[in-house]
Amino acid sequence: MRYLPLSEDDRRHMLAAIGARDIDDLFSDVPAPARLADPVDLPGHQGEIAVEQAFRGFAGRNLSPAEAPCFLGAGLYRHHVPAAVDHLIQRGEFLTAYTPYQPEVAQGTLQYLFEFQTQVALLTGMEVANASMYDGATACAEAVLMAVRLGKTRRRAIVAGGVHPHYRDVAATYGRFADIDMIAAPPSWPGTDDPAALIDAKTACVVVQNPDVFGRIHDYSDLAEACHRAGALLIVNVCEPVSLGAITPPGEMGADIVVGEGQSFGNATGFGGPTVGFFATHTRFVRQMPGRLVGQTVDADGRRGFVLTLSTREQHIRREKATSNICTNSGLCALAFTIHLTLLGEAGLRRLAALNHANAVALADRLARIPGIEVPDGAFFNELTVRLPRPAAPVVEKLAADGILAGVPASRLFAGEPGMEALLILAASELTSESDLERLAAGLREALS
């Protein structure tokens, strides 16, 4: 067994040193009826060749988006990940390191997390960011919990209709057990709901998304003002951070907490996980933040170094009084994020964002030429929602059978919500080619004819 170094001789020698007859002897504290005499009913060990073949079998029963024109988005986005990213994150010193609790032997992890925090703060236009969260949806739920902690007696959270339904649902699940009164506005398209109208004296926060789940972009400056007048906080969620290379960041609109999904930088869509959530806010709120934080300091020789800091917020010290039960960040995914963003730099990110937008405009133009498809006029970044003349889900299925991943039917996200049946959410990226558009258009024409 290739992962186990001990030989039978080693084991005998060690048992003798311990004074035990055999390994079973060491399990004498386990009640006898609970001790299994034999291995459980599962297959025996296998070599690399057999395991790899099994996984090639699993993979072969899927349609890889690399093999198909792909317009899927709705929270996770397929982008080109530069080759250097995956090479660097697989260095054993990153991949197989533990949480950097011993800073003398973890400066590599600590420095990249400090750089990650800075990049997130710059992208979102906020003062401070943490070292990452599980994913965007849990980051959003934690933001709601934080706003309610800051709101003291205010326990209402208003979630706008344009927030990704997974995020809304996760916040609702967390909120159910935390005594939070959540008001989720229903989704609307092509119009939008007005969360400002729902704000009252009990409101701790309003949650919106930019671009929203239908791909639309909004100026939330007026909403921020309305929140602040009423003593509530504005939480802005960003599922597609590439957009921050092109559009006004939430910080400049007056957001108090900015959360989101960082997968677009450096991480594959990976069938939904693992990905990396980000969390940014004002400096004055930092002690109410969930998750790990890295800070700068000096070592015994006066040289700059980095440590995990403000840990008294966290569960391993504060136990039931912690700001969150989180004991993990998304370290390696945050590393992929920060490497990709470093590779891009200011100029590269601007170019990437412009390219995504240009390809989405081309997609919108192409769809508008197909009879029966309603393409809205509003502003968007790299994703848009259109109305088909019939339910979208069967159309998507039909195109998938022809090897085209045509987008996400809104009905898959919003089950049972009225008005969603015919809506199709499509994303473009720097990977979208002219021939992808051609095949999509041809497929839709045929399916809708």
């Binding site: 002690r287 008294t312 009084k321």
Partner: protein, 125 residues
């Protein structure tokens, strides 16, 4: 001379007429180590004897500070926000936490006098 009383949780309270000044004892600051942050109550709020009124943090620990007596908070030591190290340097002087207007001076009777607290601490080590 103002009288000082102590709690079993290592808070002190110094009484001047109907106002009590509250802090943590030298023993407490030594146990905590370098203090990095102090969270104080808001002026005007009410505290109850034995209830949590402030939090004091070192790098590796956070401890609640309990009000030795009930009353309205009339002042807090703003200087601790910038210089939490004052608690280490001068726990019973410049490192005070907050002042309360005593609601019931009778509550002080339950607290320890200086000699009793000294014995209490000696018994802990």
């Amino acid at each position: 001379m103002a009288q000082v009383r102590y709690t079993q949780e290592h808070e002190w309270i110094r009484i001047d007429a109907d106002v009590g000044t509250v802090g943590i004892t030298d023993f407490a600051q030594q146990q905590l180590g370098d203090i990095v942050f102090v969270e104080l109550p808001t002026v005007g709020s009410q505290v109850r004897a034995g209830a949590e009124a402030a939090v004091v943090e070192s790098v590796k620990a956070a401890s609640e500070v309990y009000a030795p007596a009930s009353g309205e908070v009339v002042a807090v030591n703003e200087a601790l926000a910038e210089e939490p190290a004052k608690v280490n340097a001068d726990a019973t002087g410049g490192g005070w936490f907050f002042k309360i207007r005593l609601a019931d001076p009778g509550e002080l009777e339950a607290l320890m006098e200086p000699a009793a607290y000294k014995d209490y601490v000696a018994g802990l080590s």
